[in-house]
């Protein structure tokens, strides 16, 4: 029972990250850096061949690895040249209220992270090149097999309540993280066994199996954000309302569903590269404004001077307001590895037959789906879990991914339908039943109706469209009541994140049930995060191997082989990459030019999660 509870926690954490965030994901992209202090630049995958290509016909790819594709207008990460100014306040409109402000407990998506990074610092952060670099940590290194990681903290850092940050603080955080709803999942996913203070500022992490991407876990909230364990243990509930971190801002007031205000931390440890104290702003406040249109209007009318969005339609409207109506706003856009689409439950007929999955993917039009989502000219069609500007993106996979081929799909489906041994038990020649389900968002509703019409046009598919609220939608796929097999059939979902692939991809490849694990000869290795319930021994082994080396080329080849298998077996399908943006008044600057202690530029604002310490208001 405890194991099941743990699975549920892990699954829900990840599910919420994948879906509830609706484009969420955190902020990392590229291989984990396992060197001390500084990080290696993430390199483009080059021309390293991987496994044999899938047998799908290829079209000329629209983009090359590392390129920005048309529509992807990521704001450049550069040094801000305008002279910094102290003072002022930024009011940020968020798409939702934070579920809570406890990193170990509250499952967060983009709005929540925006608030958390104001008050908490991460042990490790990501640079503009995508590599991981120490932040509150001064250095981090691993033993040869990546099972023991040693981290040294920076000296002289104190919490907002004056308590000093030491190695023992990190060790004391561990039991709280293990018990927390968000933390327990992260601990499990990272295979983290123990955290010990092996010096005043030296912390030793021990993993149950090698994890070359472990620093990526320290760049995420549950394990990476530093909190005061004594205060957390004393009053966990109160901590959500009055969080204590080491971050650039201190909580001032929190009025749930209305406004949360943070004021400048005068004792903040970090400085900008010129040695100026941070943060620049006097205060920052966050206001949940769930309606996309209202939030944009609030920015345009000056009610707020910043907002975040993960919706293509809002980005389209904001671009129009800026370009056509002359609105004085800046759009800080980012389109990363997170992508929309869905999955087939491969344990449920007829989706257990790869012919059906291939046919449905071929009969679906990515282009039309993206148009229905309002993402034409904004969102890139996806072929894999990585965007073309990611070092993990593979041209070979892009070529292998099934392209729109309606008649080809009909042909494959006809073969299945006329197979006397067809898996759904229907009579030969009878149409298949497809239940396509998405949350009741207008954009998703439009997109699913596009698929419905295409499938129906084949005359071979009876389509039922269903909508359930997001929580129910996740629960259906999670399927805790039926051994995590789920009750879903064809299910809208989000894939990928800007984390290291080991964080986002590996848990989705482990056996979905104990029976499958046993049959595969790896009893006990079961992942409730394998939502499509698709298990391939070769993909699983590749994922495990990729987590046990830090050689990028090797890892790239392994992840490419997994993506090629996805393209061949299609347990999942894709629409477009998730475009995100933070909109601000034009005098709000610095979102694209924050720094790590090493002086390197940080990753910017992936998934519309800003770092607010180096933001300033130009007069």
């Amino acid at each position: 029972m405890r194991r099941r509870g743990l699975y549920r926690a892990v699954a829900f954490l990840a599910a919420a990250g994948l879906v509830a965030g609706a484009c969420g994901g955190s902020d990392d992209s590229a291989p984990a850096d396992t060197t001390e202090e500084s990080s290696e630049e993430a390199e483009a995958p080059a021309e390293e061949p991987a496994d044999e290509p899938a047998d799908e016909p290829a079209e000329e790819p629209a983009v090359e690895a590392g390129d920005e594709a048309e529509g992807d207008v990521d704001t450049e990460i550069v040094e801000e040249e305008t002279a910094i100014e102290y003072g002022g306040s930024v009011s940020v409109g968020l798409e939702a209220e934070a579920t809570g402000l406890r990193p170990w407990e509250d499952t967060c998506s983009s709005p929540c992270y925006n608030m958390m990074v104001a008050v908490y610092d991460k042990l490790v952060e990501q640079t503009s090149s995508g590599a991981y670099s120490p932040n509150v940590a001064e250095s981090i290194s691993a033993n040869e097999d990546f099972t023991v990681w040693t981290m040294t903290l920076r000296p002289g850092i104190t919490f907002h309540n004056g308590v000093e940050l030491t190695a023992q603080t990190i060790a004391d955080m561990f039991p709280i993280q293990q018990a927390g709803a968000a933390g327990s999942g992260a601990v499990s996913a990272a295979n983290l066994v123990s955290v010990e203070a092996t010096g005043d500022l030296e912390v030793t992490y021990t993993l149950s199996q090698g994890g070359s991407a472990f620093p990526a876990s320290l760049a995420r909230a549950p394990l990476g954000m530093v909190f005061d364990p004594a205060a957390a243990a004393a009053d966990s509930e109160g901590y959500s309302m009055a969080p204590i971190g080491t971050g650039p801002f201190v909580i001032d007031s929190r009025d749930l569903d209305n406004e949360t205000t943070f004021v400048r931390n005068d004792n903040y440890w970090a400085t900008d590269p010129d040695g100026n104290a941070l943060p620049y702003l006097d205060s920052i406040s966050f206001r949940p404004i769930p309606d996309e249109g209202t939030r944009l209007d609030a920015l345009l009318s000056g009610t707020i001077n910043a907002m975040q969005t993960l919706r293509q339609g809002t980005i389209r409207d904001a671009r129009a307001a800026r370009d056509d109506d002359g609105a004085d706003i800046t759009l800080w856009e980012f389109q990363g590895n997170n992508l929309g689409g869905g999955m087939f439950n491969v344990l449920v007929p007829p989706f257990d037959d790869v012919r059906v999955r291939r046919a449905l993917v071929k009969m679906g039009s990515q282009e039309q789906t993206i148009e229905a989502l309002g993402g034409t000219g904004i969102s890139l069609p996806a072929t894999q879990w990585f965007s073309p500007d990611s070092p993990w993106w593979s041209e070979k996979v892009a070529e292998a991914w099934p392209q729109f081929d309606f008649e080809g799909g009909v042909e494959i489906l006809t073969e299945y339908i006329n197979d006397p041994e067809r898996s759904d038990g229907k009579a030969v020649g009878e149409s298949i039943d497809v239940e396509l389900s998405c949350p009741p968002d207008p954009t998703l509703i439009a997109a699913m109706q596009v698929s419905e019409q295409l499938y129906t046009a084949s005359g071979l598919v009876n389509v039922t469209l269903t909508n359930f609220d997001q929580q129910t939608h996740i629960g259906i796929a999670l399927g805790g009541e039926n051994g995590f097999v789920g009750d879903h059939k064809m299910h809208c979902w989000r894939w990928g994140s800007d984390d290291d692939p080991a964080v986002s991809l590996n848990p989705a490849l482990a056996p979905p049930t104990a029976e499958i694990a046993e049959a595969a000869g790896i009893p006990g290795v079961v992942s409730p995060l394998n939502f499509p319930n698709w298990f391939s021994p070769t993909a699983f082994q590749a994922a495990v191997a990729a987590n046990q080396t830090d050689d990028f080329e090797t890892r790239f080849g392994l992840y490419e082989s997994i993506m090629l298998e996805f393209a061949d077996q299609v347990p999942v399908y894709y629409s477009g990459h998730t475009a995100t943006a933070i909109g601000t008044d034009t005098n709000v600057l610095g979102l694209n030019s924050w720094h790590l202690p090493s002086g390197e530029l940080g990753i910017g604002f992936p998934a519309a999660e800003g770092r607010w310490a180096e933001v300033f208001i130009a007069s």
Partner: protein, 331 residues
């Protein structure tokens, strides 16, 4: 013709029963005067006439759309509400040339929605859902609620206390919340389920209206007279009470229908009414709101249809209620 009656009541010639009612109530009421359609029409203010015209158009359009799909295979001159005009055309192997969120044109009178479907066709088809829900809820309300209210208003006692307490509890609960709870029980939400749920929830309101009228009518002289001559209670209920409650219920139906249309629209807006891609005014508004900054008309058209329908139902309902009150005051 002999009537089998209880042993304590004397037999009374059955053919004289209606004369009792008429004699006691006077010549002006109960047996209503024949009112011709022309007379009603003439007595209508202009706004009620216009409202009636709108309702007739909506009903006609909805039936026409349904017939087009069900009987004529889409051959009548009305576009398919679910055809995406920019969608894949299998015969040509090409995508259509239609545009999403298009403005008004000769080919699309009210433009197209986010996936290039004809908005006019969707509004006309959307009327069918509203029509069915209204008719079913009215039938449930009148047949079950009306009967129940008439019965308890007539028999009184513990039955009345129990029934009305139940009705009060249901009515005290926020209607939309109750509706959401009931709708969420069903995995498949088709027109039958939605109509049935709304119909069931209409019963308490009709019960209360019927009971109030039944109470008043039960104390009328003609009912007393019927009792005095030993008429069976069931006969009094069906021959004297219910026929007099019914006109009030029918007048109330128009007002209740307006509420039902709004309720169905709310459910659709929340994605909890009939399943996609069936068009309803509510789901049209919901789907178009994303693009409101680009083309407000796509939200406006279904909203206008909904608003005008509700307004019209209220106007017509008020008119008939007033007529009923005037006639009731003559009693």
């Amino acid at each position: 013709m002999a009537i089998t009656n209880s042993s304590t009541t004397p037999e009374f010639p059955r053919d004289r029963l209606s004369n009792v009612s008429s004699a006691v109530a006077g010549p002006t009421d109960i047996a209503p005067k024949r009112t011709t359609f022309r007379k009603i029409l003439r007595s209508m203010p202009l706004r009620v006439k216009l409202s009636s015209l709108w309702l007739v158009l909506i009903v006609f359009g909805a039936i026409y759309a349904k017939l087009d799909v069900a009987w004529f295979g889409g051959s009548l001159p009305l576009q398919d509400p679910n055809i995406q005009t920019n969608g894949f055309i299998r015969e040509t192997g090409q995508f259509g040339t239609g545009q999403p969120i298009e403005g008004m044109s000769t080919s699309h009178w009210l433009g197209t929605d986010a996936i290039a479907r004809d908005t006019f066709a969707r509004i006309v088809h959307g009327g069918w859902v509203s029509l069915v829900v209204v008719v079913v809820s009215a039938c449930c309300g009148i047949m079950i609620g009306g009967f129940l209210g008439s019965l308890v208003g007539f028999v009184r006692g513990r039955v009345e206390t129990f029934v009305m307490a139940t009705v009060d509890v249901i009515l005290a609960f926020p209607a939309l919340v109750l509706l959401l709870a009931m709708v969420s029980i069903f995995e498949v939400r088709n027109l039958f389920v939605i109509s049935a749920v709304i119909g069931v929830l209409s019963i308490p309101a009709y019960t209360r209206v019927a009971r109030a009228n039944s109470l008043a009518i039960s104390s009328r002289e003609f009912v007393t007279a019927a009792r005095a001559i030993g008429t069976k209670p069931s006969r009094i209920l069906f021959r004297e009470i219910i026929p007099n409650v019914l006109p009030t219920l029918l007048a109330y139906t128009m007002v209740a229908a307006a509420f039902v249309v709004v309720v169905e629209g709310s459910l659709s807006f929340l994605g909890l009414s009939v399943q996609l891609p069936t068009p309803t005014w509510g789901n049209m508004i919901n789907q178009a709101r994303r693009d409101i900054k680009i083309n407000v008309a796509q939200v406006m058209w279904p909203s206008l249809a909904l608003t005008l329908t509700v307004l019209s139902l209220n106007q017509v309902g008020d008119f008939f209620q007033q007529r009923r009150e005037i006639r009731g005051s003559n009693l």
